[in-house]
């Protein structure tokens, strides 16, 4: 039988990030039921204990910790050198990486380092009886789907966030093993972190990993009216996005822009408020599972891509929606 499936667990503020937990579930799916193929979760950095405790309840066969403060900053060069060395040692054939900003930066480098094939943006995955992995990935901004077959024995797989459910916690505890820090010689000259600026979205989740996104467009008429969306987003635990018209007008910084020249999002629920639905915007959100559009213009193109639509005055609809969501959620 082939070696273990390695699943990289990324952390933020000491906790494992949700996309990494989703990857853990995928690991079990492609390794086979417990007892057939091993799933090994791997964590790098210092102060790993809280994350390890959480990961140990999620059905992996082993949790490996590589404790070294050099991993506390993400350098693709350093992480890929370490992970490739460990994968070599464990005789792994598959490494799963979440589609976070760091994860997306890691896959190509790790695959080149480890001599592996690589596929990213994976929305579905299956293993044929002969062991061949086959994945589905949206391409052309979700306007087409590719089914990619992996022909190489080794592969690094990058997963799309929000495409897979994270495993449910169980009572059985995964054994935890401290792994020696691999030799990290001959690293290239690296950059230095000089500061961190928290996103202006404040307390909400990040746009690219949120399970719900509420986006505003020109229909909001002015930056001050974004507070309507902030209330709605707060009631849903959603991140806030914006159309290009909004960021070009300076109502919101460019980091809020969803679309071809902005961020691509694929949440469970995307609510477009006062957004007409130019293709520029649509390509950035079309892979969302469910799309809701609220717009005063019944002919707005956004209603062609949305699953549910409300034609009406957003200044009345949005507050009513916020109230209703608070009511059903009991707050």
């Amino acid at each position: 039988m082939s070696g273990p499936v390695l699943v990289l667990i990324e952390r933020r503020n000491a906790a494992p990030v949700r996309p990494s937990l989703e990857a853990l579930g995928v690991g079990r799916r492609i390794a086979g039921p417990p007892g057939t193929g091993a799933v090994v979760a791997i964590l790098l950095g210092s102060g790993l204990e809280p994350a390890v405790a959480q990961v140990a309840e999620l059905g992996a066969d082993k949790v490996l910790t590589v404790t070294d403060a050099r991993f506390d900053v993400f350098h693709a060069a350093v992480w890929s050198a370490a992970i490739a060395a460990i994968a070599e040692e464990l005789e792994a054939m598959t490494i799963l990486v979440a589609g976070t900003s760091n994860g997306r930066q890691l896959v190509g480098r790790l695959a080149a380092r480890w001599g592996a094939a690589a596929v990213t943006g994976i929305a579905d995955i299956s293993r044929a009886a002969d062991g061949t992995l086959s994945v589905v990935r949206p391409v052309f901004s979700g306007r087409a789907l590719e089914e990619v077959k992996v022909d190489a024995p080794r592969v690094v797989l990058g997963l799309r966030p929000n495409a897979f459910p994270p495993p449910d916690p169980s009572d059985s505890k995964t054994p935890v093993e401290a792994h020696a820090v691999p030799e990290l010689s001959a690293l290239p000259a690296l950059g230095t972190v000089t500061g961190f600026e928290p996103a202006q979205s404040g307390s909400g989740p990040d746009l690219s990993e949120a399970t719900v996104v509420v986006s505003g467009g020109r229909g909001l008429k002015g930056p001050e009216n974004f507070r309507l969306l902030e209330d709605l987003a707060a009631s849903l635990g959603a991140a806030i996005g914006a159309s290009r018209a909004v960021t070009d007008s300076g109502w919101k910084p460019a980091s809020f822009q969803v679309g071809q020249t902005g961020r691509t999002v694929s949440p469970q629920l995307y609510i477009a408020v006062g957004i007409s639905g130019a293709i520029q915007h649509v390509v950035g959100m079309i892979s969302s599972r469910t799309i809701v559009a609220i717009n005063s213009d019944p002919n707005a193109p956004i209603f062609k891509v949305a699953d549910y639509g409300i034609v009406g005055d957003l200044f009345q609809i949005v507050p009513a929606l916020t109230t209703e969501i608070r009511r059903v959620r009991g707050n």
Binding site: R12, V17, A77, S80, S101, R104, Q105, L106, V107, G108, R109, A111, A112, A116, A118, T120, G121, P138, F140, A144, L145, E147, V148, K149, V150, D151, A152, A186, P188, A189, G191, T192, T194, F196, E197, D206, E209, L236, R244, D248, Q260, T261, G262, T290, I291, V292, F303, V305, A306, D307, Y308, I310, G312, I317, P319, A320, L321, T323, E324, I325
Partner: protein, 264 residues
């Protein structure tokens, strides 16, 4: 400062996508191939740096088949790049993004560089593998997704921010370096007609098939596209009928909970 920018011809974003006869790729009949998306932004970024750093030169490098690859290199030259390298690809060769990165690194190794700028992903396959894989093959650091890239002449370092979850991480890094750009310009520069004409006369350097390692030419890459299809067409929104905003909100929330099952 020697700046390299890696680009790729992609179908015009307005292209109506159709699977080819075998259902394993895009039907490229009549497709217009262009320099666009993050690749176009990467060129814009390289040219902005060239303007900011005296004595800089920008070389655009692309891997692909003729004539589309030559055309986008000419577009890059018309925008202001100083030189271009075409890495030849056999029309019948099976290639995946890791293989493309291998071919591009051959060209990068032939020319001294301080910085390689690459878009965080191409607009067609959205793989995002090339920048980091090229960096590994060249043995230099790579960072991404990068915004606000500047040259700090006093420190002899590039400064930038990584647009990551929860905020932006400010960094500085020495050369040589690969940056994968997140930042996109909504209105990048367009080429003047006289520069388009001038670009036609600039000689494009070529990395010929014969110069590439044997496996790039013949061995199958690690992955292949088994099927290419269009998602089921969206049938248009189910419209919520209502008399009051409250009723609209109630009906929508009910649909989201009971039908779409996206709200607890």
């Amino acid at each position: 400062m020697e700046l390299l920018v890696l680009i790729k011809p992609v179908p015009d974003p307005e292209t109506r996508l159709r699977p080819n006869a075998t259902g394993t790729g895009l039907d490229t009949d009549g497709v217009k191939w262009v320099l666009t998306g993050y690749d176009e932004s990467a060129v814009e970024q390289a040219l902005l740096l060239k303007e900011a750093i005296p004595g800089s030169k920008v070389r655009a490098i692309a891997f692909g088949t003729a004539p589309r690859t030559e055309e986008i290199l000419r577009s890059a030259l018309a925008l202001g790049c100083d030189a271009a390298t075409w890495v030849e690809r056999a029309a019948d060769a099976s290639v995946d993004p890791m293989r493309a990165a291998e071919a591009l690194s051959v060209a990068c190794k032939r020319t001294p560089f301080d910085l390689i700028v690459v878009g965080k992903q191409a607009l067609d396959d959205e793989a995002g593998l090339v920048g980091p894989a090229v960096a590994e093959r060249l043995g230099v650091a790579d960072y991404g997704p990068v915004v606000d890239l500047r040259w700090d002449a006093a420190a002899s370092k590039f400064t930038f921010a990584r647009a990551i979850e929860g905020g932006s991480e400010r960094m500085s890094a020495p050369t040589p370096l690969v940056v994968c750009l997140q930042q996109a310009w909504n209105d990048p520069r367009t080429a003047k007609l006289q520069n388009v004409l001038k670009a036609r006369r600039i000689a494009i350097d070529k990395v010929a098939l014969a110069d590439l390692p044997a496996e790039i030419k013949s061995a199958p890459p690690g992955t292949h596209v088994g099927a290419f299809r269009l998602p089921p067409p969206r049938t248009g929104a189910k419209m919520v009928e209502y008399k009051t905003p409250e009723e609209a909100a109630q009906k929508l929330v009910q649909l989201l909970r009971e039908e779409a099952k996206v709200l607890p």
